[in-house]
Amino acid sequence: MRELKLMKGNEAIAEAAIRAGVDGYFGYPITPQSEVMETLMAEKPWETTGMVVLQAESEIASINMVYGGAGCGKRVMTSSSSPGVSLMQEGLTYLAGAELPCVVVNVVRGGPGLGTIQPAQSDYFQSVKGGGHGDYKLITLAPASVQEMADFVETAFDLAFKYRNPVMILSDGVIGQMMEKVELKEFKPRWTSEYIEENHPWATTGKKKDRGRNIITSVQLESSVQEAFNHKLQNKYQQVEASEVLFEEVLCEDAEYLIIAYGSSARICQKSVELAREKGIKVGMLRPITLYPFPVEQLQKYAKQVKGMLSVEMSAGQMVEDVKLAVNGAVPVEHFGRFGGAVHSPGEVVEALEQKLIGG
């Protein structure tokens, strides 16, 4: 039977984690995502599924607890908002360097610095380009609804373990705080230690006599070894780019102009598309669901069809750079968005489209 519930995006993350059989959550409070840990602490999953939930002393500790848990082959996660995720960048590069699977949720707020607790999408670069030091990538999922907040927890863990790579769920203060109807999945059991030992033979589960030591590390002092390891990572990212691109198309078939938007901006732009079409402007929307890997091929396809593209994001213009790289000058690409905690209206987007691309 379908189980429907009215929930905040942050609450949906927590509920989905328990139901997906996640082993551990480690976090530190920060607005606008504190409901994730609050929901977990209220639900007390350690009494039911055995999930460990711990409030750490900082985001630095949280992400390193995630490292420790991931190294044991456990499904572990954390969540935070922009300033906290900045603190986690050290941990994330170590996780990528040690090839550890985990899920990190960023409910983005406006920056830079302490910024504002209002929603933003200005952590795009930090998420999709690496964020910490070294050549690495985070697989990045961008939910645009409370339902997707819930669904992407499991999707993220599947991708994390498939590629042994951290996965970022890049949300924002709108999606985290707004309430929507969610269809919840059934409870799945947590992985048994036997399952982990069989399926994740790299995990530090205690050295048995029939195998060598398992060592989780990111240090390779010999540069030729480190270079070879980097090639291995790059091959992995190529596989991710070839196989894992997700996107949604809205009224693109006859589109003469294309809006590219993700997350809450995509929800706003859905209305903008309607408004523009009422005015007789044939607009479609491409919503990247994975921000890394980015829907490059799809954009190249539309570059042959449309007269111009508008990247609409709650940032001063970050994703627009990837759109430009994808189409490589084939069509005009412009950016529009309110930022620093401000949110654009559907009408503002249509106006920007007319001014920047149509020449209104």
Binding site: T205, I215, I216
Partner: protein
């Protein structure tokens, strides 16, 4: 003259390297205390029969490659974060034994927050703390535990307390926290001290078996290279200068 092969018999063996120690050649400098402490941990693991259930957390510093020397599963942490890793490993696998192995920079400078809060939560882990008062790996810089007046490459005229603050007695601080059950300071510069340190390590792991909370074993150590002394001279200098500031013995034993 007796044939050597008539002597090498199992019944004649009075000492044998524990199998928990690998045959890898250690990268440590002559006179360094790390090798001795590694051996003692390995012996305790063997004697307690917990090789298959122990997970070590290695630090950043000279012992970053500790995982090359003990035949167990290991995780190598970012600088100072070992207690956070150990926290999660132990909580997610409470049936395993977990220990962190950290130097003074790792445990008492960059990782101070992780150290204090793991101890304050009373994480049921063992923390082994090597305090040699200097940064060995990066080439002899000042540590949080460098003694007043002691020279280092970032305080070449000696630590000036009015400029750099006093060396931190982190173990005394951690002993104040209700989460710690056992905090002790030992050394490995004489045979008698080696035996005492081994006893302390054994007690620490037994505390973990008894679910008693955090056990911290500090080992005041030498760094011949960083101190620019011969190993013998370093031992003497440690006795004369380190022990008065960092007195050996139990700070807490509950």
């Amino acid at each position: 003259m007796s044939d050597i092969n008539t002597i090498i018999k199992p019944e004649n063996i009075i000492y044998k390297k524990t199998d928990v120690l690998t045959d890898n050649v250690m990268h440590y400098c002559p006179g360094c205390s790390h090798g001795t402490v590694h051996k003692l941990i390995a012996e305790v693991i063997e004697e307690m029969g917990i090789q298959e259930t122990t997970i070590g957390i290695a630090p950043v510093g000279c012992s970053v490659l500790a995982y090359n020397y003990l035949e167990i599963d290991w995780q190598e942490a970012a600088h100072g974060r070992a207690p956070a890793l150990a926290t999660a490993v132990k909580r997610l696998m409470p049936e395993k034994y977990v220990f962190s192995y950290q130097g003074d920079g790792d445990l008492a400078a960059i990782g101070t927050a992780e150290t204090i809060h793991a101890c304050n939560r009373g994480e049921n882990i063992v923390m082994v703390f090597i305090n040699n008062g200097i940064y060995g790996m990066t080439g002899g810089q000042m540590a949080p535990t460098t003694l007043p007046g002691m020279p280092a490459s970032t305080c070449p005229a000696g630590r000036d307390v009015s400029h750099d603050g006093a060396p931190i007695k982190i173990s005394e601080l951690l002993a104040q926290l209700p989460g710690t059950c056992y905090v002790t300071r030992q050394s490995v510069h004489t045979a008698a001290n080696v035996r005492k340190t081994k006893k302390a390590l054994r007690k620490a792991f037994e505390n973990q078996a008894a679910n008693k909370g955090t056990s911290l074993v500090e080992v005041v150590s030498t760094c011949s290279s960083g101190w620019k002394m011969t190993p013998t001279k370093a031992n003497e200098w440690m006795e004369e200068n380190m022990f008065p500031y960092y007195p050996l013995g139990d700070m807490k034993n509950e």
